[in-house]
Amino acid sequence: MTPSYRKIFNDGLWHKNTGLVALLGLCPLLAVSTTIINSLALGLATILTLSLSNLTVSMVRTLLRPEIRIPAYVLIIASIVTAVELSMQAWFHDLYLSLGIFIPLIVTNCAIIGRAESFASRHPPLPALVDGFATGAGFCLALFALGATRELMGHGSLLRDAQFLLGEGAATLQLTIIPHYDGFRLAILPAGAFIFLGFLIALRSWLAR
């Protein structure tokens, strides 16, 4: 039985949010969320990969024997991620450089294989695509929230380096929220990433109480 799209979205964005509830794909979440733009870039890459992988898996779901399902998914995902990586390298080179190995590491983001296994392999392509999108969007949301908090606390700005994602003209998008702000350096350090994510999850759990 295919759940309603509304439920798919609710789950992906909030109730079963990968970053904040399921706690999968923590490494990229913490590593790249120093600024909003980095977060968004990785978030978009993840949405793309998830949607494509869910779609592909759902299309080939009847062809695969159960015992090779998972390895096959891994290969499919690895191929998609490499494709995304190549495209970023070609068209968003600065972003590619600043995200480093976390683009290829999308392969091991358990959320992707998890969705492939628990949703895409049991549902037709369209819902699978939507589920991939919703789950990815949930992850992107978590990334965005964390990135925004850390950038604001750490740099006192929002949307710095926007040109990396949106092209040269976007450099002016940067909002300096707190002028002459020296920066609360903990926010951009690894320790701060952990602590801020901890607070974010607590906040979500408080909101969802």
């Binding site: 390895p71 290969l75 490499t82 296994e117």
Partner: protein, 224 residues
């Protein structure tokens, strides 16, 4: 992904074949995408290097392929710590115009500071940038262009424009500002830039030697 990743049920070869097919399909598609993006990627990579070089070179004219005209040199006195220093050379009609030196300042507070230094053939600095460093955030990181204009203080200087004893931070009686609470970092950068200039001055000819020697001479010119 709790279950194991590969099957262990009996018809092993069948599964292996199926997997190989998936992998082959993936590889095939990727090869296609790779073909498609290859040129763009190469262009982008060049652009990335060039942007960096041009930042420190400023507006100059040259007609060689800057990022490929590269030598690596070493000098035990001026480039301490056995480093191989990269020098990119800009030429116009085969004549030397300027060079970009990529080197490490070895005595930063927390480790090496990687610098990019653009210098005109006449020894005038066209620009300096810090590529990477490990200095204390908030204290020593004002050497970054992104955080302060301090690094622009080198622009237009040369060994002749500023006397040798002035190549130091103010606390040591020189002409460069230090940061409050962080003297070592600027001290290290100033020293590294000065040494690089000295090397450039004394080895100009070798650096711009038309035959492209892969290694410049190790011997340091005397007089330091």
């Amino acid at each position: 992904m709790p279950e194991s990743t590969l099957p262990h049920s009996p018809p092993m070869w069948k599964s292996a074949t199926a997997l190989a097919v998936v992998a082959a399909a993936g590889a095939g598609i990727l090869a296609g995408i790779h073909e498609l993006t290859r040129d763009d990627i190469e262009a982008q990579q060049q652009r990335a290097v060039l942007t960096q070089l041009e930042q420190v070179l400023g507006p100059i004219t040259h007609d060689n392929v800057l990022h490929q005209d590269l030598i690596r040199v070493s000098d035990t006195v001026l480039f301490p710590g056995d480093q191989l220093v990269e020098i990119f050379r800009a030429r116009q009609d085969g004549q030397p115009v300027a060079a970009v030196i990529r080197l490490l300042a070895k005595d930063g507070y927390n480790g090496d500071i990687s610098l990019l230094l653009g210098v005109h053939y006449d020894g005038e600095i066209s620009g300096v940038r810090v590529l990477a460093h490990k200095e204390t955030p908030g204290l020593g990181d004002d050497i970054e262009f992104a955080r302060s204009d301090w690094i622009l203080g080198f622009d237009g200087l040369s060994l002749t424009a500023r006397p040798r004893q002035q190549w130091a931070v103010k606390r040591d009686g020189g002409g460069f500002d230090q940061f409050t609470g962080a003297t070592m970092t600027p001290r290290a950068v100033v020293k590294a830039v000065r040494l690089a200039l000295e090397y450039f001055e004394s080895n100009k000819d070798l650096i711009f030697a038309p035959s492209v020697p892969s290694e410049a001479p190790n011997a340091a010119p005397e007089g330091h």
